[in-house]
């Protein structure tokens, strides 16, 4: 069976349009369904915990520093550490528990806490 040039061009045109529109509308359907799913990166909850840390910039200013350490008993390198840095910028959050001032993220502390260490501790 041989199609004319006109028929072939019509088939091509509608194939392209149908596939594009199908993909586009399917994504719309999925996005609508996911609209009220919880975001994995729960900034709002994390942002609230920030208030528990007190005035870190003021403490750092007194110490002439712009860096805090970070310690956790959770799996290292997790999203929480990156979120801490994102929320606390422009304070530099070093992934280093040996700093004099650290953000502690411990599972039994119900969130993040600020820990000040005096020399020798």
């Amino acid at each position: 069976m041989k199609f004319s040039s006109f028929t072939r061009s019509r088939i091509g045109l509608w194939l392209l349009i149908a596939c594009a529109l199908f993909s586009n509308l399917l994504l719309l359907f999925r996005s609508t369904r996911q609209l009220f799913w919880k975001d994995n990166n729960d900034y709002a909850a994390y942002q609230q915990q920030k208030s528990r840390l007190g005035d870190i910039p003021e403490i750092l200013r007194a110490r002439h520093s712009r860096i805090v350490g970070y310690d956790t008993d959770r799996r290292p390198g997790t999203t929480e550490y990156f979120l801490s840095q994102f929320i606390l910028a422009p304070i530099l959050v070093a992934d280093d528990p040996a700093r004099p001032l650290i953000i502690g993220n411990y599972h039994n502390a119900r969130g993040i806490v600020l820990i000040e260490r005096t020399p020798g501790q």
Partner: protein, 430 residues
């Protein structure tokens, strides 16, 4: 159509220039200055609008046929509305963007905006995981908007993501409409709106869609120049500027600058000879030089070296080059991504069937230098990506799985532009 084309060409370009002005202000004054942040970009904007109005209408182009195929227009409008709704839904769920969006681009913007004279802290080796060597167009565009508004808001990165996504669709459609007719322009727009990954990634606030936009704009400007070569040299300067802005957006832009310059020379020399080709290259470099110089300044003076190739030792490099399994894995992943990269039905296989059904445009009567520049650039970019994967220091399987789809979507608008320049129309008038 001129209005859509001019706006799509200029609005993202203005964002790029605002980010450059912000960087110059930070370097020289250590703070955002109104002179640099507002007056400089505005002055350029006025000049650019004048240039667009002055030159774009006089570029010769085939007369737009009165194609009354309203159903294609209606489908384009439906697809655009759906894409816009998807964009809003994703932005509403993730106001700070997806992973790289917040952890790299928006975090750098926050650092620079909040830290005042200590803005260089954002490049600290203590946060090397956030890739401090990445160029600054996206974060500084966000900082620019925050500075103009006077406060931080998640609307700014959303708006920038929207500008680049919408401009990509508009530029692709309007440029193809101008060069091949309105119906082809709408079809090109429908094709890109039918790529779910393009829409999702646009809303994720990554830098890949802005980068892809500048790739496309560079190639479009070359193609517009070819409509009346020699009469609009500023289009070549602008193409250099947009190529430079791609380097100012992401590291892949550096490869693009090299690829597009070589591609252009290879395309032009056989047809016009060496001297005109070198003259065109000089105009291209004139536009390229400032954003490229700023990118190198950032990488050499401000930040620690990047992690991709900087730790490469010659022995390891040779070892990687001699492993056939690496070639096979990269090739297999490239092919799989080419088939599935849009994450939807309207991908490369459908375009291939479309091409087989309609055939290639009869282009004996007109030069194909614009299309050739596009195809050579894409080929060189793919070859460059292949080489980078071959020699990189990461675990190859992991690196391919986390980045190849983004590299693909960066090139997809430019590929579609080339495709719709080359394919025969469903009516045979053009």
């Amino acid at each position: 159509m001129i209005g859509i084309l001019s706006t799509a060409l200029l609005l993202p370009l203005l964002m790029g220039l605002c980010s450059m002005a912000m960087f110059i202000s930070l370097i020289f004054l250590n703070r955002p200055s109104p002179l640099f942040v507002v007056l400089l970009p505005l002055s350029f904007c006025v000049l650019a609008v004048y240039a667009a109005l002055r030159w774009l209408p006089v570029i010769g182009h085939p007369a737009a046929r009165a194609q009354r195929e309203r159903y294609i227009l209606i489908i384009f409008i439906i697809a655009s509305a759906a894409a816009l709704a998807i964009f809003v839904f994703i932005s509403w769920r993730q106001p700070n963007g997806d992973w790289d969006g917040w952890a790299i681009w928006n975090m750098r913007a926050r650092f620079i905006f909040r830290s005042g004279e200590n803005w260089r802290d954002s490049f600290s080796p203590l946060i090397a995981w956030s890739h401090p060597d990445y160029p600054l167009l996206v974060p500084l565009s966000v900082v620019w908007l925050w500075t103009v508004i006077g406060r931080e808001t998640t609307v700014a990165p959303m708006l920038i993501a929207a500008i680049f996504s919408v401009s990509t669709v508009a530029l692709l459609s309007a440029s193809i409409a101008r060069l091949r007719g309105p119906t082809q322009g709408l079809l090109a727009g429908i094709a890109i709106l039918g790529a779910p990954f393009f829409i999702q990634h646009g809303a994720s606030q990554y830098a890949d869609i802005p980068l892809g936009f500048f790739f496309l704009e560079t190639i479009v400007l070359f193609a517009l120049y070819e409509q009346s070569p020699g009469t609009s040299p500023w289009l070549l300067v602008m193409s250099g500027l947009t190529a430079g802005l791609s380097a100012w957006t992401k590291n892949e832009g550096l490869l693009f600058c090299l690829s597009v310059a070589v591609a252009r020379l290879v395309a032009v020399i056989p047809r016009r000879g060496m001297r005109p080709a070198l003259r065109e290259t000089a105009l291209f470099i004139a536009g390229l030089i400032i954003p490229l110089a700023m990118t190198f300044y950032l990488k050499i003076r401000l930040v620690p070296p990047g992690d991709l190739l900087s730790s490469q030792e010659p022995s390891m490099l040779m070892d990687h080059l001699m492993q056939p399994s690496r070639y096979a894995l990269i090739m297999k992943t490239f092919l799989r991504t080419a088939i599935q990269g849009t994450r939807g039905a309207a991908g490369l296989p459908v375009l291939l069937i479309y091409f087989l059904l309609l055939g290639r445009k009869d282009g004996k009567a007109e030069p194909r230098l614009g299309a050739r520049t596009a195809s050579y650039s894409i080929s060189l970019m793919l070859a460059g990506y292949f080489l980078v994967y071959l020699v990189d220091t990461y675990d190859l399987q992991w690196h391919l799985s986390t980045s190849i789809d983004r590299l693909f979507i960066q090139l997809w608008p430019t590929f579609l532009f080339w495709f719709f320049l080359e394919v025969r129309t469903h009516r045979t008038e053009l």
